[in-house]
C-alpha cells in the first residue's frame, strides 16, 4: 500500500511545475497546458484525499474539474486561434491590448 | 501466484496472437475477397517451392518486402515522432482488444479463468479510451513528416476519428443502459438471457439503431473505405505519404487491427459476444424444453468458436462494405458524423431511457 503522502508530494511537484511553466513561458498554448498540468496535480490530490476518506466525493469533484477544464480549453483555444489568425504571432507579451 | 501469472500471460498471448494473425491475414482476405467479388482471381503468385496456397504467402512476401525496403525519413521530418508514430498507432489498436471477452469463464482444476485478456469492470470505457488514443499516432505521423500534405491528411484523419468516436461513445451508452454494466463480460453474459423466453437478448435486437450507428462510426474510426479520405491511398495523399517499408506497413497493420477491434466490439456488444443461442453452462437448453448436456470444456470451445465465427463474419461484412461503397467526400463524412450519427445516438439514448422506464419492473 502506498502512503497517500507520496501522492500528495507528487501532486505538489507537478503543481509547482505547472505554475512555473505558466510564469516562464510566453507561448499561450504552453501556458494553457501548464494550467492543465496544475489542474491535474490538484485532481490527483483530490483523489488521494478521497481515497483516504473512502468516499467517492473526491472523485466526483475531479469529474467536475475535468468537465470545467474541457470547457475552458475549448473556449481558450478558440480565443488563441482567433488571436493568432489576426496577429500571426503567438506571445503573451504582445497580447496587452484588449481588442485586435 | 506463478500459475496465475502464467494464466494471465497465456490469456494475453492468446488474444495478441489472435488479433495480430487475424490482422495479418486480413491483408490476404482483403485482396482475395475483393478479387472474388469482382470476378477476379486475386493474389496468387507468391509461392514457396511451387506451393501457392491461394496466395496465402502474399502477406509473408509483403512482410519480407516491407522489412527489406529502404526505411526512408524525410530531411525535414521530426526524427523522434516520425519513428514513434507507427508504433503508437499499432500499439493502441492492439491493446484495445484486451478487454473484449472471447468466452465465458473456464473452470480448470478449480481455477476460474476468465476468457478475456484483462478483466476490467469499465471494459467499454477502456476500449473507447484506447481507440481515442489511436488518434495520436495519426496526428504525429502527419505532423512529423514535415510535409504539408501529410499534415493535412493527419488533420483529416484526426477530425474524422474524433467525430466517429463521439458517435461510438454515444451509441454504446444505449447498450450500457440496457445491460446495466460497463463490463464487456457482463454485457456478453447479459446477452445470453432470453427475451419472452425464446429470443436471445442480443444487442442487435435490443439496440438495432445503436448497432447501425456503432457500425458506421466504427468503420469511420478505422479510416477505411468509405471513410478513407484521410488516406486516399491513390489520389488524395494521406498522413503516411512519407512512410515506407515496415513503418508504412505498420499503419496499414493498424488499420487492419482496428478492423478486428471494431468487429470484436460489435460482436461483444451487439452479437451476443461469445454466446451461442440456448447454450448455457450445462449445455443446450432449448426454449421448447429439449436439453442437451455438454461437458464444460465443450461448452467453452463452442463459445470461443462462436465468438471467433462472429468476428470473422463481421470482418467479412466490413470488407464487403469496404469493397462496395464509394468514398464519402470529407465534408460528407464530417456531416454524417456530427449531424447524422451523433444526434441519432442521443435520440437513441433518450428512446432507450424511455423504454427502460416504461418496462422497469415496478
Amino acid at each position: 500500500m502506498i502512503p497517500e503522502s507520496w501522492y500528495l508530494a507528487l501532486s505538489a511537484v507537478l503543481f509547482t511545475i505547472g505554475v512555473v511553466g505558466v510564469v516562464i513561458r510566453r507561448n499561450p498554448l504552453v501556458i494553457f497546458m501548464s494550467i492543465e498540468l496544475a489542474l491535474n496535480a490538484a485532481n490527483l490530490a483530490l483523489v488521494a484525499f478521497g481515497q483516504r476518506t473512502g468516499s467517492p466525493d473526491g472523485q466526483a469533484l475531479v469529474f467536475f474539474v475535468m468537465a470545467v477544464a474541457a470547457a475552458e480549453v475549448a473556449v481558450g483555444l478558440a480565443i488563441i486561434v482567433a488571436i493568432f489568425r489576426v496577429r500571426q504571432r503567438l506571445s503573451v507579451d504582445e497580447l496587452s491590448m484588449m481588442r485586435w | 501466484m506463478i500459475a496465475d501469472l502464467g494464466i494471465a500471460f497465456g490469456r494475453v498471448v492468446f488474444v495478441m496472437m489472435f488479433v495480430l494473425n487475424l490482422g495479418g491475414l486480413l491483408t490476404w482476405v482483403e485482396r482475395k475477397q475483393s478479387a472474388i467479388m469482382q470476378d477476379r482471381i486475386g493474389a496468387n503468385r507468391a509461392s514457396i517451392l511451387g506451393l501457392r496456397l491461394f496466395g496465402l504467402f502474399h502477406p509473408l512476401a509483403d512482410a519480407i518486402k516491407m522489412l527489406t525496403k529502404e526505411d526512408f525519413r524525410p530531411a525535414r521530418a521530426d526524427r523522434f515522432l516520425f519513428g514513434l508514430a507507427p508504433f503508437v498507432s499499432v500499439f493502441f489498436a492492439l491493446v484495445a482488444f484486451a478487454s473484449i471477452p472471447f468466452g465465458d469463464v473456464l473452470h480448470v482444476s478449480g481455477r476460474e479463468i476468465p476468457l478475456q485478456a484483462v478483466t476490467l469492470n469499465v471494459g467499454v470505457l477502456y476500449v473507447f479510451a484506447m481507440l481515442s488514443l489511436g488518434v495520436y499516432g495519426v496526428m504525429m505521423a502527419g505532423w512529423s513528416s514535415g510535409n504539408n500534405f501529410a499534415l493535412l491528411g493527419g488533420q483529416r484523419a484526426a477530425a474524422l476519428m474524433i467525430s466517429a468516436e463521439i458517435a461510438i461513445g454515444a451509441s454504446i451508452i444505449g447498450v450500457i443502459m440496457v445491460y446495466g454494466s460497463l463490463d464487456l463480460q457482463s454485457i456478453a453474459r447479459a446477452q445470453g438471457e432470453l427475451l419472452w423466453g425464446w429470443i436471445p437478448k442480443w444487442g442487435i435486437l435490443t439496440q438495432p439503431l445503436a448497432f447501425v450507428l456503432f457500425l458506421t462510426a466504427g468503420i469511420a474510426s478505422t479510416k477505411r473505405i468509405p471513410f478513407d479520405t484521410p488516406e486516399g491511398e491513390s489520389e488524395i495523399i494521406g498522413y503516411f505519404v512519407e512512410y515506407s517499408g515496415m513503418k508504412f506497413g505498420m499503419f496499414a497493420m493498424a488499420d487492419f487491427l482496428e478492423t478486428v477491434v471494431v468487429a470484436g466490439m460489435t460482436t461483444a456488444l451487439f452479437l451476443g459476444g461469445w454466446q451461442v443461442p440456448y447454450l448455457v453452462a450445462a449445455g443446450f437448453h432449448f426454449p421448447w424444453g429439449a436439453t442437451l448436456a455438454l461437458p464444460p470444456l465443450v461448452v467453452t470451445l463452442l463459445q470461443v468458436g462462436s465468438f471467433i465465427t462472429k468476428v470473422v463474419v463481421m470482418i467479412f461484412f466490413l470488407m464487403l462494405i469496404r469493397w462496395t461503397l464509394p468514398r464519402f467526400r470529407y465534408d460528407q463524412a464530417m456531416r454524417l458524423g456530427w449531424l447524422g450519427l451523433f444526434p441519432l445516438s442521443i435520440a437513441n439514448i433518450v428512446l432507450t431511457g424511455l423504454v427502460l422506464l416504461a418496462t422497469r419492473p415496478a
Binding site: 510566453r26 491535474n40 483523489v47 486561434v81 482567433a82 | 515522432l81 470505457l125 473507447f128
Partner: protein, 195 residues
C-alpha cells in the same frame, strides 16, 4: 513493494514529462509530453482504485482535450515557437526561486499533516456505480450546471470560430469547428447534394 516501485516509476515519468512540457521549446513535443503525464496520472488513479476516473481521464483529457491542443498547435504552424529576444527574461528567471519556494511550502504542508489518521478503508470495489449515484443525487445541481457550462462553452467556441464574413454558414459543432474556422467556410454544395 511492487506497488511502491510501480508508483515511483510512474511518478518519475510524470515529473519528467511535466518538466519536459515546461522546458522544451517544441510545443508539439510539449503537448505530447503532457499526454504522457496525463496517462501517468490516469495510471495513478487506477492504483488508487479510481477506475472510472482513470478511464475518464484518458477519454476526456488525453482523448479529447489534448487532441484539441495538438490539433490547435499543428494548425497554428508549429514553426512559430518562442523565438527572438525575450525582454522579460530576468523577470521570468525569478520564477525558479519562486517555484522552489512554492514547492517547499507545499511539501512542508504535506509533511506537517503526515500525522493525519490512516486511511479508513479500501476503495469501493465498484466505484463506477457509487460515483454515478453520487453525481445524480448529491451533486445533481453542479452536474446540471456543468452541462450548462459546457453548452455555454460550445456556443462561445462556435461564435469565436465562425468566420467573420460568413454570416449564417452552418458549421459542424465540436472540436473540429475550431480548426476549420481557419479554413474557408464550407460551401453549400454538400448540403445540396444531400437533398
Amino acid at each position: 513493494m511492487m506497488a511502491r516501485a510501480a508508483f515511483l516509476v510512474i511518478a518519475g515519468i510524470a515529473v519528467a514529462a511535466a518538466l519536459a512540457l515546461v522546458l522544451r521549446r517544441n510545443t508539439v513535443h510539449g503537448a505530447l509530453f503532457l499526454v504522457v503525464n496525463l496517462g501517468c496520472v490516469a495510471a495513478l488513479y487506477l492504483m488508487l482504485g479510481a477506475i472510472f476516473l482513470a478511464a475518464a481521464q484518458i477519454i476526456v483529457y488525453a482523448g479529447a482535450i489534448m487532441v484539441l491542443f495538438v490539433f490547435a498547435i499543428m494548425v497554428l504552424i508549429p514553426g512559430k515557437e518562442e523565438t527572438g529576444p525575450d525582454p522579460r527574461r530576468t523577470w521570468r528567471l525569478l520564477a525558479a526561486p519562486l517555484g522552489g519556494a512554492l514547492l517547499l511550502e507545499l511539501i512542508l504542508l504535506v509533511v506537517g499533516r503526515t500525522a493525519a489518521p490512516a486511511p479508513t478503508g479500501a476503495a469501493p470495489s465498484d466505484n463506477v456505480a457509487a460515483i454515478g449515484r453520487l453525481l445524480f443525487t448529491d451533486y445533481l445541481l453542479p452536474f446540471e450546471l456543468t452541462s450548462v457550462l459546457l453548452l455555454a462553452a460550445m456556443v462561445g467556441v462556435l461564435l469565436l470560430a465562425r468566420s467573420r464574413e460568413g454570416s449564417a454558414e452552418p458549421q459542424g459543432a465540436g472540436p473540429e469547428a475550431s480548426v476549420r474556422g481557419s479554413a474557408k467556410p464550407q460551401g453549400s454544395e454538400p448540403e445540396a447534394s444531400l437533398r
